[in-house]
Amino acid sequence: MATSIKNLPDNEQVLSGNGACGGCPATMALRMVGKALGPNAIMLLTPSCSVASMGMTPKLGYNWPCINVCFATAGSSASGITHALEIMQEKGRLKGELPTVFCWVGDGGTYDIGFQALSAAAERNDNMIFFCYNNEAYSNTGVQRSGATPRGSFTTTTPRGKRQPKKNMALLMLEHHIPYVATATVAYPGDLYDKVVKAKSIEGLKYIEILAPCYLGWQFDMPETVQMSRMAVRCGAWLLWEAENGKITFNNPTSAIISGKKAPEPVNDYLFKQGRFKRLLQGPDADERIAEIQGDIDREIAFMRERAKIVI
């Protein structure tokens, strides 16, 4: 059982008063992450919504030392910091428990421009937690397509809907042989909290990806962030799982979908709630396009079900 939201610690690392949109899922998720990490951490950010909302110099809405780095470099920058802290401790220049080094990066800085540096940091297994808050587009620059944008989704650079499926980034990270990979989303805060607590206790590179439904990019009503997040999981468009040392475990309610105890909800309700699929759904080939999206979801469920059986 995941920790109940009622039992989360009281500490707040996300301070009140910042520039995020109402209902911002990234800020919501960061608040949960902060409760799990506590204050002894160093945060790296690349250009993204969480930078735009953290406050302008000299103000800061996050209660950690925060370094903004070049867009493509979250992985390598965190490697630099984690090695620096470790060697300074070895040489006696730092005392006490070392801070947790973590990257807080959007899907652009993870899937696309930041992929190379992240992949290399993972292959080296440098000690950090890499969080991807995935809002499935470049939301900060006004919603352009990313490698995480699902097929059919409207963005300003896919005006007729994206033609390609998204990458399975978490699985790509798993195949780097890192000790911990997890997916999460804001509708399941206890699940997210537990995963961060677990990641914090593990040496090496930990990758946690958080689906972050963005009202602006996805075009739904601002108060419905959590509901969208829940619908994504229930229809199987987002799968909750974690892998310790390569062994995949599914978390509720995804585990019920994977085991066949419960059928995923049809994708239609999820799609119709979102303006980003509106043009596709109103087109003459709507049924065909919806079937494509359902096909992508079914394929991922089937693939992950089989992949989880491989334990070597």
Partner: protein, 378 residues
């Protein structure tokens, strides 16, 4: 007291040894010809326990500089090295190092840049990073490489500006020359451990390099511009104190040879300036009052020292190993003319580009070039 040790080593080994003497903490590295053997030597020293540091084998130069910058922000003394396109690939992160006021020290082994590919030396790579806010030294010998890296750490950490130490691929990087290694205790006296005024520290949550509005941004940039110039006295002080401790001297901001009464002055950097000493002797033997002025420090440009050192009415022959695209000639000449304008109207500046992509620069060739330039009244 321990005596200095003299060995035969390449320029790249001299650089790696300087990193060891500087007791560097973190070295992210990525190979590129002709720099590679520096990274190999450092990786080996770390593996053997001769250098208590972390070597991070990153996947490219952009990440090498990113890791160096971030490790520096965490409070470590850092080093990396590169050449040519590796340096160009670092470009945006070089700006972050300088704008972030992080005292990273890096070696750039000068090599011509793509396209087309070349492996051999010219100075287009470092000059194309002139406006990143880094200070740049240019060295002409293995010993000077060793000495300058140690002086660079001293200066960089005093004024929080990153420093690039440049020298030519192959002519210096791969050539064996005698190298004097001072006792480690002497270097420890010259270069104390790095104690940053500020670092990423959870006890003091604050943002670093976050977004600014113009009223914050503009003063940051102005401070950097002013502080680069303010580094010149620190460069001189470091060279003097290094000499007092080790007995070695390569010049401070500039190095000169037979300059005092010179009527014709060769003006060049790096290994070609070492070769030019032979050229000067040849020209003197022919009755030409020739001398050499070699800037060691290229960014900031040591204008005052050059203005003070040039003899009256000298003809200065600037031998550039780079192009200043959009202008005839090279970038050193443009820098020199800019420094002299309105200050030394007695000086004539002539300029030729040579040695591009490793074209051989023998002392005879450069003597012939200087003689031809003397005839050139265009």
């Amino acid at each position: 007291m321990k005596a200095a040790q003299v060995i035969m080593e390449t320029g790249n080994q001299a650089a790696a040894l300087a990193v060891k003497y500087a007791r560097v903490d973190v070295v992210p590295g990525y190979p590129i010809t002709p720099q590679t053997s520096i990274m190999e030597a450092i990786a080996a020293m770390v593996e053997r326990g001769e250098l208590h540091a972390r070597f991070i084998p990153v996947e490219g130069e952009h990440s090498a500089m990113a890791a160096a910058v971030a490790a520096s922000a965490a409070g470590a003394r850092v080093f990396t090295a590169t050449s040519a396109n590796g340096l160009l690939y670092m470009h945006e992160v070089l700006h972050m190092a300088a704008g972030g006021r992080l005292p990273v020290v890096m070696v750039n082994v000068n090599r011509g840049i793509f396209a087309p590919w070349t492996l051999w030396a010219d100075h287009q790579d470092s000059f194309s990073q002139r406006d990143t806010g880094w200070m740049q030294f240019h060295c002409s010998s293995n010993q000077e490489v060793f000495n300058t890296i140690l002086q660079a750490y001293r200066v960089a950490e005093q004024i929080n500006i990153p420093i690039m130490v440049n020298y030519d691929g192959f002519a210096v990087s791969h050539c064996l020359m005698p190298l004097t290694l001072p006792p480690q205790e002497d270097i420890d006296r010259f270069l104390p451990p790095y104690e940053p005024e500020w670092r990423l520290d959870p006890a003091h949550p604050s943002s670093f390099s976050n977004v600014t509005n113009a009223p914050e941004y503009a003063p940051f940039r102005q401070m950097l511009s002013e502080d680069i110039l303010a580094a010149i006295p620190l460069v001189k002080q470091a060279a003097r104190e290094y000499q007092e401790i080790t007995g070695m001297w390569d010049g401070d901001t500039i190095d000169t040879y037979r300059l005092e009464d010179a009527e014709v002055v060769a003006f060049a950097i790096n290994s070609m300036a070492a070769e030019l000493r032979l050229t000067i002797d040849t020209l003197r033997d022919q009755g030409i009052k020739a001398g050499l002025l070699r800037p060691r420090l290229v960014v900031p440009f040591p204008a005052e020292d050059i203005i003070a050192a040039l003899p009256p009415n000298a003809q200065v022959m600037v031998l550039d190993r780079n192009y200043n695209f959009g202008h005839p000639g090279g970038i050193l000449a443009a820098e020199l003319k800019s420094a002299l304008f309105g200050r030394r109207n007695d000086i004539t500046v002539k300029n030729r580009v040579m040695g591009i992509g490793g074209l051989d620069l023998s002392h005879r060739f450069m003597a012939a070039e200087i003689l031809a330039m003397m005839e050139d009244n265009a």
